[in-house]
């Protein structure tokens, strides 16, 4: 290999930032590429600290953990985690409404007709109930039960998946121990200077506040909202989506747990945003996400504190953000993963999923040398698509509402949405069909859950539903509901499951 070629090869990765994104990236790279001789260094600054929120996840995180060899029970205990079967949305369609968006299916299709079409025809009739009463994870959630799904596709127990709710401040250290055990070198300190190669504009080295210089071939910017490399150094640009997702602030506070340990997150719509409630083993995470255009910080904080279910455990913390994404998530030899790459706000817990997607794509396209424009373009295309599809799903929550009780909701309800979303809504409201895609996070059951949960009902149903006698369909619905209730009833209590499987964190 010539000397020049050697310089171009990628053998040293420097991850800047030790939050959830940084340590997940380091753990992912070390597990999958460490054995190939890739050197991974992570720089983090305790003085700067981490964002310290981000506690609710999506089922895909289990794949990530499994791929990098994380033991589930150890992980649960180390991060005080609970299981999550879905998200309860309160007051979204109208004040007083509640529905759960589960990680699973609704009912069973019949002769090619989706279950929600049958439900729609009989909705409102005695005994039929809400759509989510035909979802096993919803019933289990409401009963506070949990059991891992079954592999047998014929079993109703195979109709759902699960995610986790964990302590954000314990998760990064857990990933850190995993990464360090696989050879990642950690350096403590603040990056104060970034050296660029004059010709290519590529980052070559970072200088730390104690004068150390860290060289690298590829840099992963995990510096959170700072965007130290991707924006402050390379000026990648930002697609600002606050026109559709105007929430730009959050205030967060933990409180003591009250009541049983629930296997789901709650998102309650408020006057100018929404608040979260995430039950962990040792406490409950709470926060209020709002638009500063429509609500003051004080009012947001009062709403949050007024709604706490248990004793407050810390002072409220305020966070600011602009919803959107970097125009280029990978620019030159810098890849932005985590909040440095963009943030669509916490609704539906998509941020850690997008981190995971960024890591997976980086691994798949991991370049051999600096001549990697093709890989970079493909990475950016893929991640743009992921962000855009998540964006549309989030916008729908705000737009598909009947709420008219505040300026915020009037604005959200009447705003113009992206064409991609407008077409979906038009298709669904016609006869209940959902436009599907192959590449995107949220699948058909998720769109159905939120649309129907927020009272967007098709004006008429798939006419094939009439092909079956009403009495027969009603009998089928009742049977299915009973079957699911029985199955959920036989699951174990969520807290008991955690304890029996050594998943509870030992008291400090």
């Amino acid at each position: 290999m010539g000397a020049n070629e050697g310089k171009q090869a990628i053998n040293r990765v420097v991850v800047v930032g030790g939050g959830t994104a940084g340590w997940m990236t380091a753990a992912g790279l070390a597990s999958m590429l460490g054995p190939t001789g890739l050197e991974i260094t992570l720089i983090e600054s305790e003085a700067i600290g981490v964002v310290g929120v981000g506690e609710a996840t999506l089922p895909h995180i289990k794949n990530f953990n499994d791929t990098i060899g994380v033991n589930e029970a150890e992980f649960m205990a180390a991060t005080s985690a609970t299981f999550k079967l879905g998200i309860e949305f309160v007051n979204w369609g109208r004040k007083g409404d509640s529905y759960i968006h589960p990680f699973g299916e609704f009912g069973l299709p019949n002769a090619g007709v989706a279950f929600h079409q049958y439900w729609r025809k009989f909705a409102g009739q005695p005994g039929v109930g809400a759509l989510d009463e035909y979802s096993l994870p919803v019933i289990a959630s409401r009963l506070g039960k949990f059991q891992p799904p079954d592999d047998d596709p014929r079993s109703v127990m195979s109709t759902y998946r699960y995610a986790y709710q964990f302590d954000a401040l314990q998760y990064a250290p857990f990933m850190r121990s995993h990464a360090e055990a696989r050879g990642v070198t950690r350096m403590e300190g603040k990056v104060v200077d970034v050296a660029l190669e004059p010709e290519s504009g590529r980052v070559t080295a970072l200088t730390m506040d104690d004068g150390r210089v860290i060289e690298g071939d590829l840099f992963v910017d995990c510096t959170g909202f700072f965007g130290l490399l991707i924006e402050k150094t390379l000026s990648a640009g930002y697609d600002d989506w606050s026109e559709w997702l105007p929430a730009d602030r959050a205030v967060a506070v933990p409180c003591e747990s009250a009541g049983p340990l629930l296997p789901y997150t709650r998102a309650t719509a408020r006057e100018a945003g929404w608040s979260w409630r995430i039950p962990l083993q040792h406490r409950t995470g709470n926060g209020h996400v709002y638009s500063s255009q429509f609500l003051s910080d004080d009012a947001a904080c009062d709403t949050l504190l007024g709604g706490l279910e248990g004793e407050r455990l810390a002072d409220p913390r305020f966070l600011r953000f602009v919803t959107g994404k970097r125009r280029k998530l990978w620019s030159r030899n810098v890849v932005a993963i985590g909040l440095s790459g963009g943030f669509l706000e916490p609704l539906e817990s998509t941020s850690i999923y997008l981190i995971q997607e960024g890591i997976t794509k980086l691994l798949e396209l991991f370049p051999a040398d600096q001549h990697c424009d093709v890989e970079v373009a493909e990475y950016n295309r893929w991640m743009d698509l992921q962000f855009e599809r998540v964006r549309d799903f989030l916008i729908m929550h705000y737009h598909a509402t009947e709420r008219d009780d505040s300026d915020f909701w009037n604005h959200m309800r009447t705003m113009t949405v992206p064409d991609s979303l407008a077409e979906r809504l038009e298709l669904f409201t016609a006869h209940g069909h959902v436009s599907a895609y192959d590449h995107g996070l949220f699948l058909v059951p998720s769109w159905v859950a939120v649309l129907i949960g927020q009272r967007v009902l098709p004006s008429s149903v798939d006419a094939r539903v009439s092909g079956q006698a009403d009495a027969e369909v009603l009998r089928h619905l009742a049977g299915l509901k009973g079957h699911m209730e029985k199955a959920a009833g036989s699951m174990e209590d969520h807290a008991a499951y955690l304890a029996r499987n050594n998943m509870m964190r030992a008291a400090a």
Binding site: P35, T36, G112, F366, A368, V374, E423, D438, A463, S466
Partner: protein
């Protein structure tokens, strides 16, 4: 009660595929389905279906095993397509080798080829080995093997069987179309006369293409499935029409990508963005980026890219986790397994 009428017209096998599915998944109270065979099936050779034929038939309640013998079925594990240089390429329906640690087999093969001379990549395809063997294994045996397969049917027999099934399901079958029938609420044209698929007003054109074996079947079956899945009153279905057309056109774009890859002189010079991406990313690192609504599977793309002389400049770094000696042993074993499985199947 007014009755909604659909007229499906085209050749017997075309009308049979669409009609059989609609008879089972659309027909019902207040609906009438008329199937008119307006042209003859002149194409020579068997009618090839793709692996999704099993699901398609399962959904309409006409299992493949019932048709296999009467329609002189034969399993198809790869489709043969023509290339620009006058040659042909076999596009296998299942993966080459086996995936390992989330990395596709060809990445290991690329790495191994740099270490020592290896048999051609195509020699690691069980699908191709079975497709090219003198005798195809029986269906029951194939179902036990890790391969996807479609079926090649006798065109006339398959068309007739499907038309009979549709008739038994309540459709009426006629030869030719009269003026009154043309007045249907929706006329579905199955023959390839239209230039692009479209559902607008009272006309739905499937515009099936048949230059790659299995494609005609795919266009017809997915048009019917998609139509049934978007079922709506025919007098009030503008959003469904737009969606059906959007999906069919998107699929056609993916087919056009494959067609261009097979026919263009220099695949690196394609001006089709999605194909360009496939070629460039594959050439750069051996990955094949996929789009929404792909028709061809990754192994088919791999075979086509390979056959057109596009080869990756490097292998996936994750494939380097396997030590050299272990890698070479594993490849030897795999080839041995493919050969012995093929022999066993032949002997059975």
């Amino acid at each position: 009660m007014s009755v909604e009428r659909i007229l499906v017209y085209g050749s017997p096998v075309q009308v049979g595929i669409v009609g059989a599915y609609l008879s089972s998944r659309w027909l019902g109270p207040g609906r009438a389905l008329e199937l008119a065979t307006t042209v003859e099936d002149n194409a020579a050779g068997p009618f090839v279906t793709r692996p999704s034929v099993h699901r398609f038939h399962g959904e309409m309640g006409l299992p493949i095993d019932q048709l296999f013998a009467p329609c002189r079925g034969s399993p198809v594990l790869a489709a043969a397509a023509q290339t620009a240089d006058g040659g042909s390429v076999q596009l296998p329906f299942s993966a080459f080798g086996v995936q390992r640690g989330g990395v596709e087999f060809h990445q290991y093969w690329l790495r191994a080829s740099r270490l020592s001379e290896q048999a051609d990549l195509t020699d690691f395809s069980l699908s191709l080995a079975l497709q090219n063997a003198a005798h195809k294994p029986p269906l029951a045996q194939l179902a036990q093997l890790p391969v996807e397969f479609g079926i090649a049917f006798d065109r006339a027999a398959y068309g007739n069987a499907l038309l009979s099934f549709a008739k038994a399901g309540g459709a009426s079958v006629v030869e030719g179309v009269n003026e009154q029938e043309r007045d249907a609420d929706l006329a579905i044209q199955c023959s390839p006369d239209a230039s692009a698929p479209k559902w607008q007003g009272q006309e739905l054109s499937i515009a099936p293409e048949s230059d790659i074996p299995g494609l005609e079947w795919h266009h017809l079956s997915s048009a019917a499935r998609r139509f049934a899945n978007l079922a709506a009153p025919l007098s009030d279905c503008a959003p469904e029409q737009a969606e059906w057309t959007r999906l069919a056109v998107a699929e056609n774009e993916r087919v056009a990508d494959m067609r261009e890859l097979l026919s263009i002189d220099d695949p690196l010079k394609s001006s089709r963005p999605a194909l360009q991406r496939k070629v460039e990313v594959f050439a750069a690192c051996g990955r094949i980026p996929t789009e929404d609504y792909e028709v061809f599977t990754p192994p088919e793309w791999l075979a086509a890219l390979w056959a057109r002389g596009v080869s990756p400049r490097r292998s996936d770094r994750m494939a380097e986790r396997l030590p050299d000696a272990q890698l070479l042993d594993w490849l030897d074993q795999l080839r041995g397994q493919i050969a012995s499985l093929t022999r066993q199947v032949q002997a059975a």
